[in-house]
């Protein structure tokens, strides 16, 4: 057995009559960023939601730090130390930014040093601290969504396409915040379509297609091998630096 913090073994997920995940095998090593790549509809979001227990695995096994979490209720999974940033951000629009953050702190209060870091990473959150979250722009909502996940130190962060539809400047601030997380030794499973961000952040990578993981390995390997990129994703990761 490897030093994986999270392991998925032959995980299947059905949503109604749709068979989305068809035997996902995945290992997320402790203390690093694992990128989950793949085209739209490959099953990336379903994988994260299945890990969180928001959709039930119909078959297979998910273990977190040796604990079988396959059938656990979502709140119990969260309280094992897993934070989740959903694709739709999941912010509470009627609550203020402060209330969103307060709710994210399971201990009841956010550590002041942690809050300072969050404010330095996402200054708009400090500006709009007392304002309803529904009034924030798309980028600010995404900042709040990520900030809420990191409000307290967690053992694993599941983050679903944080850069989706955002301006490059905001993407770079999100990337910087994720680098800080990585530097504190956090384990992150990150779904991302932004290849530049994926290459900059990822230590390991898993590529999904049609509800399976079709490739797993080091990010650097995939980033430097155009043949692999074309084979598994149908495109290359050439980006302007």
């Amino acid at each position: 057995m490897s030093d994986a913090l999270l392991t998925l073994q032959g995980v299947h997920t059905h949503i109604g009559q749709y068979h989305i995940l068809q035997g996902v095998d995945l290992e997320v090593p402790a203390g690093g960023v694992t990128m989950l790549l793949g085209r739209n509809g490959a099953g990336k979001t379903t994988t994260l939601r299945t890990i969180m227990g928001l959709w039930r695995a119909s078959k297979g096994r998910i273990t977190f730090d040796g604990i079988d979490i396959t059938g656990l209720p979502t709140p119990d999974i969260s309280r094992l130390g897993i934070a989740f940033v959903p694709e739709d951000m999941g912010i509470f629009a009627g609550l203020t930014v402060e209330e969103n953050m307060r709710l994210a702190a399971q201990s009841g209060a956010i550590d002041s040093a942690r809050l300072d870091w969050i404010f330095s990473a996402f200054p708009p959150l400090k500006t709009f601290w007392k304002f309803p979250a529904g009034n924030l722009s798309g980028g600010q909502k995404q900042m709040l969504s990520v900030a809420r996940a990191v409000a307290e130190k967690r053992r694993l962060y599941l983050i679903d396409e944080p850069s989706k539809g955002l301006a490059p400047a905001i993407v770079s601030s999100l990337a910087k915040a994720l680098k800080d997380l990585k530097a504190e030794g956090a384990t992150v499973l990150l779904v991302e379509q932004n290849f530049s961000m994926a290459r900059a952040l990822g230590d390991t990578v898993a590529v999904m297609d049609d509800g399976h993981v079709v490739h797993g390995g080091l990010m650097a390997e995939l980033a430097s091998d155009r043949t692999l990129q074309t084979r598994f994703m149908g495109l290359t990761m050439e980006v302007a630096d």
Partner: protein
């Protein structure tokens, strides 16, 4: 951890315009305009004052009965047609407990009367909270997320509870006399104001203040408000929303029980159908207030209470129609209610 990050951001925060501020407080303004129109239509300030206090008292009692239902609607997405059962049971339990304290209720001391009413209210709330737990576990739990089945099963639950009231209390209506010091009226500015109505206004205001505080300032309130918007995300943050559902349902049932006691003493005669009869007004209030909104429920209840009393005096045949017309007008103006909390599902 480090540093310099998001793009420099210098938002310009402007004060809300007069129009925006007005729009936010429009429901309060409507209540004031309604009262003013009532004064103009009725003509006599003394009669108007009597009717206004009666309307406010009725509104407060409807608010007490509806406040639990709006949270249940908003948080749990449950259409509970059985809510009237809790009102009926609350009324019967409360009045029965009051009957056991004749020495207190027959006393002319207000404190003794209030003590008796307080004990009756606590008993009614405890009984309806327990009943709410059973109702949620056996009737609501199997039909979460299925609106049509919710309507059918909760209606069934209502019928069963009403029949059980006949079993335990017999088929006859029950006389519910007000305690001695709460009978009669006091004269304020020449208008005779029933003492019990003043009590209803005070209880309603206290409940509104308490609920507003809990929703705005406590962690449970925060969870309820967040859960009304996105229950899945609340779970992903580590909170057991289903446990919260049960607690909220019990609290909503207990509030209906409190409303039942207040309404029963107001009507002075109670039947097993007392709850289902008042449910039309309760539903109107919940809908025009906005599902899940305590503030909207409060404003809506005051509008309904005032309008019902003014029209009952001016044009009695239009009393019920006036509230339906109010609901139609509000929904044409704000289709999700005055203070929408829950988005269309």
């Amino acid at each position: 951890m480090a540093t310099a990050l998001a793009p420099e951001h210098k938002p310009k925060i402007e004060n809300a315009t007069a129009g925006e501020r007005l729009s936010r407080h429009m429901p309060i303004l409507i209540i004031l305009v309604l009262a003013l129109l009532g004064l103009l239509a009725i003509g006599s300030p003394v009669t108007w004052l009597t009717l206004t206090v009666a309307g406010l008292a009725m509104g407060m009692m409807i608010f007490i009965m509806a406040s639990g239902l709006t949270i249940v609607f908003g948080l749990m997405d449950v259409i509970n047609f059985g809510h009237g059962a809790f009102i009926s049971v609350g009324a019967f339990v409360g009045v029965s407990v009051l009957a056991l304290m004749a020495s207190l209720t027959h006393s002319s001391a207000l404190a003794a009367n209030l003590l008796a009413v307080g004990v009756a209210v606590l008993a009614a709330m405890a009984a309806t909270a327990i009943m709410g737990y059973v109702f949620e576990r056996f009737i609501i739990l199997p039909v979460y997320g299925q609106h049509l089945k919710q309507i059918l099963t909760t209606m069934g639950g209502l019928i069963i509870v009403e029949q059980l009231i006949y079993v335990f209390w017999g088929p006859n209506q029950l006389y519910a006399p007000k305690p001695e010091a709460l009978r009669g009226a006091i004269v304020i500015a020449g208008a005779a104001i029933e003492k019990y109505r003043l009590l209803a206004v005070v209880v309603g205001l206290i409940l509104f203040a308490a609920m507003s505080y809990v929703m705005a300032k406590t962690r449970v309130g925060l969870m309820v408000r967040a859960g009304v918007e996105n229950p899945e995300m609340v779970e992903a943050l580590g909170y057991r929303i289903k446990r919260l559902f049960v607690l909220v349902f019990m609290a909503g049932s207990a509030l209906a029980g409190l409303g039942g006691v207040m309404w029963g003493l107001y009507q002075e005669v109670i039947t097993a159908e007392i709850g289902s009869q008042v449910m039309i007004m309760v539903f109107i209030v919940v809908i025009i207030g906005g599902l899940g909104s305590v503030g909207g429920c409060f404003a809506g209840a005051l509008m309904v209470g005032l309008l019902a009393n003014y029209t009952a005096f001016l044009a009695p045949k239009l009393a019920l129609v006036s509230n339906i017309a109010l609901m139609v007008a509000i929904l044409m103006w704000r289709p999700m209610g005055m203070y929408p909390v829950v988005k269309a599902k």
